[in-house]
């Protein structure tokens, strides 16, 4: 019996589901070339290039960028640039912190016995079993209580008053990212062959050298995929950011959400298309990393 045999029903169902997954994305990209400014219905592509933007009612007739008019428009949008900068800053810092402390926790939980181990392990499941909005409003309450108290106690006034911003978003992101890093690294450590470390110790390496030269290189691919997962979680996050951001710390998802409640031009589609391209490249990178890891193992 051929293990790869699939009935036609399964193949047809798979095609339908893939179509369902991709049709909205294709539509989104198509509309980013829409000539209509109002973007309610597709009015055709922007036909031609010209020195300046020519409008006919709400239709763009020609533009210096031709069909890519909305992409040029997007590049000139300072709010988007600021939101993109915030999103990346938050994602980078929170990924670095959560990867380091998450890996440490994974090592502790996998290799050591200590009193608070059951509590540490259990707390990792909180972000999985509790809806994000519950954490979001809880963290908002925590920050507003703490800031109210601190501003009062230290007589902080004006700009030095503590308030929601990039720092609060980053701190909150780390809280829900760490468990994912720890669980991924822990899963890698479970299949770890301890004899390599024992060999290093037998050859006279101390614990730190063994960790740096043997353990770390071996679990590095696991740490990398944990970090990449954390990074994409941070980029994608809406709910936690929604409750912990303040003026000047708008991220891209928050910015897009704000636009959806007002006027939507094809600029949003251009932004989405750029985003999809970036994500495509990131996922590709992850796949290449994982493939390399699999080759190392086999």
């Amino acid at each position: 019996m051929n293990p790869f045999r699939r009935s036609p029903f399964v193949i047809i169902a798979a095609i339908i589901v893939y179509f369902f997954l991709y049709a909205p994305i294709v539509g989104l990209i198509l509309y980013s070339f829409n000539a209509s400014r109002t973007n309610v219905t597709f009015e055709g592509f922007i036909p031609s290039f010209s020195e300046r933007v020519v409008m006919d009612g709400s239709l763009v007739k020609s533009s210096p960028c031709g069909p890519f008019h909305w992409y040029c428009d997007l590049a000139k949008n300072d709010d988007v640039a600021e939101a993109a900068g915030n999103t990346l800053t938050i994602a980078f810092i929170s990924t670095i912190v959560s990867t380091i402390i998450g890996t440490m926790a994974a090592l502790a939980l996998q290799r050591y016995n200590f009193k608070m181990k059951p509590f540490s392990q259990l707390s990792l499941y909180i972000p999985i079993v509790i809806p994000e909005i519950v954490m979001g409003i809880g963290i908002l309450t925590l920050f507003s209580q703490f800031f109210g108290w601190a501003n009062n106690a230290f007589n902080l006034v004006g700009d030095s008053r503590l308030s929601l911003g990039i720092a609060t978003v980053t701190i909150s992101h780390i809280a829900f990212m760490v468990p994912f890093v720890t669980l991924v690294v822990q899963a890698r450590l479970q299949g770890f062959d301890k004899s390599y470390e024992e060999a290093a110790m037998d050859l006279g390496a101390n614990e730190w050298t063994t960790f740096r030269r043997v353990t770390l290189p071996m679990i590095l691919p696991g740490i990398m995929s944990g970090a990449l997962l954390a990074f994409t979680l941070s980029l994608d996050d809406f709910v936690i950011t929604f409750f912990t951001n303040g003026p000047g710390s708008t991220t891209l998802p928050i910015y897009v959400y704000g636009l959806l409640r007002r006027i939507i031009t094809p600029q949003v589609n251009a932004l989405s298309t750029v985003w999809i391209l970036v994500v495509f490249l990131a996922v590709l990178l992850l796949q290449i990393l994982q493939n390399r890891e699999q080759k190392q193992h086999s």
Partner: protein
């Protein structure tokens, strides 16, 4: 001091786990305790929280009302109970549809040639990592009256010479359901795939040798062994659907109000954090109860990390 630490394995473990444990305690557990305290409070006229101990917020959520039509002192107002019920049934329906769609695809990928499996998985990850808000927006463009779905149906109807008035699909409960299914489908595909892929192919040969046909093999071997994936996927889908407010906000307009929307509005528009806190604790208790009974029956899938 350092020498002692080097010998004390337990202290080393505690130190390594400390940053994560403290971080999670301060930002996940303390906030839950604060939410509980606030939920027993009362809203002052200018929107601040007065800390007391009252169950008013909870009784109001469960339908107790003092704002009654014909002079009664109290009556039953089903507004919030309906919102909770609607969220619960939407989460059940979404999960059922998602399992139905995800299972065949996961099976297709797991049975694909190993060389092509990564490509097929890659194709599931792309929509998953395209931003959540952007994915809702995509459906807004498809579902609206002048949107792509109505245009395509219009073409077909035109070709068949059947008169056609565009459907009103946006801002309906159906639109919210479709949006939720689309948002969370990949979270079901990945864990089911993981558990299907683990199944030892010699089991299929054994089933065939013992005379089972392919339907019987599927029902007696494949399906039971893939249950951990379905359980993990259900947790990853059901819980977020219960708490999400963007999908209903954008695709449901003001028509479909879920418990997530209720909580969000208490914190931003209506400015009653005490009532919002009570609602979010009820939400948490509801998801925990469902998860508890569900996992007690089917076990807690270890596939959960993979998704």
């Amino acid at each position: 001091m350092l020498q002692r630490l080097r010998e004390n394995k337990s202290a080393q473990g505690t130190l390594l786990a400390l940053p994560t444990t403290v971080w999670l305690f301060v930002l996940l557990i303390i906030p839950l305790i604060l939410t509980l305290i606030v939920s027993f409070g009362r809203r002052s006229p200018d929107g601040d929280v007065i800390y007391t101990f009252t169950l008013d917020n909870y009784t109001r959520l469960l339908g107790y009302s003092t704002d009654c039509p014909d002079g009664q002192a109290s009556c039953f107002d089903p507004l919030y109970v309906n919102i909770l019920g609607r969220s619960l049934s939407l989460a059940f329906n979404t999960t059922l549809f998602v399992i139905t769609l995800a299972y065949p695809l996961a099976y297709f990928i797991a049975r694909a040639h190993p060389k092509r499996r990564n490509l097929f998985l890659f194709m599931v990850l792309i929509p998953l990592w395209t931003n959540f808000v952007i994915r809702v927006y995509a459906w807004m463009m498809l579902l609206r009256k002048e949107g792509a779905i109505n245009i395509i149906i219009g073409w077909v109807m035109n070709a068949l010479n059947i008169p056609f008035t565009p459907f009103e699909m946006l801002y309906t409960p159906g639109a919210v359901l479709v949006g939720m299914i689309y948002e969370f489908l990949p979270f079901m595909i990945l864990p089911i795939y993981t558990s299907l892929e683990k199944i030892d192919t010699s089991l299929y040969e054994a089933a065939a040798d013992l005379g089972a046909n392919s339907i019987k093999t599927f029902l007696r071997v494949t399906l039971p062994l893939s249950m951990p994936g379905v359980v993990a996927g259900t947790i990853l889908v059901f819980i977020p659907v219960m708490g999400t407010f963007i999908v209903s906000d954008i695709l449901g307009g003001r028509q479909v109000i879920l418990v997530g929307n209720l909580i969000q509005r208490q914190f931003l528009d209506a400015r009653d954090p005490t009532f919002g806190s009570a609602a979010s604790l009820i939400l948490m208790v509801m998801t925990l109860i469902v998860t508890y009974f569900y996992t007690r029956k089917f076990g807690f899938g270890e596939e959960i990390v993979v998704g």
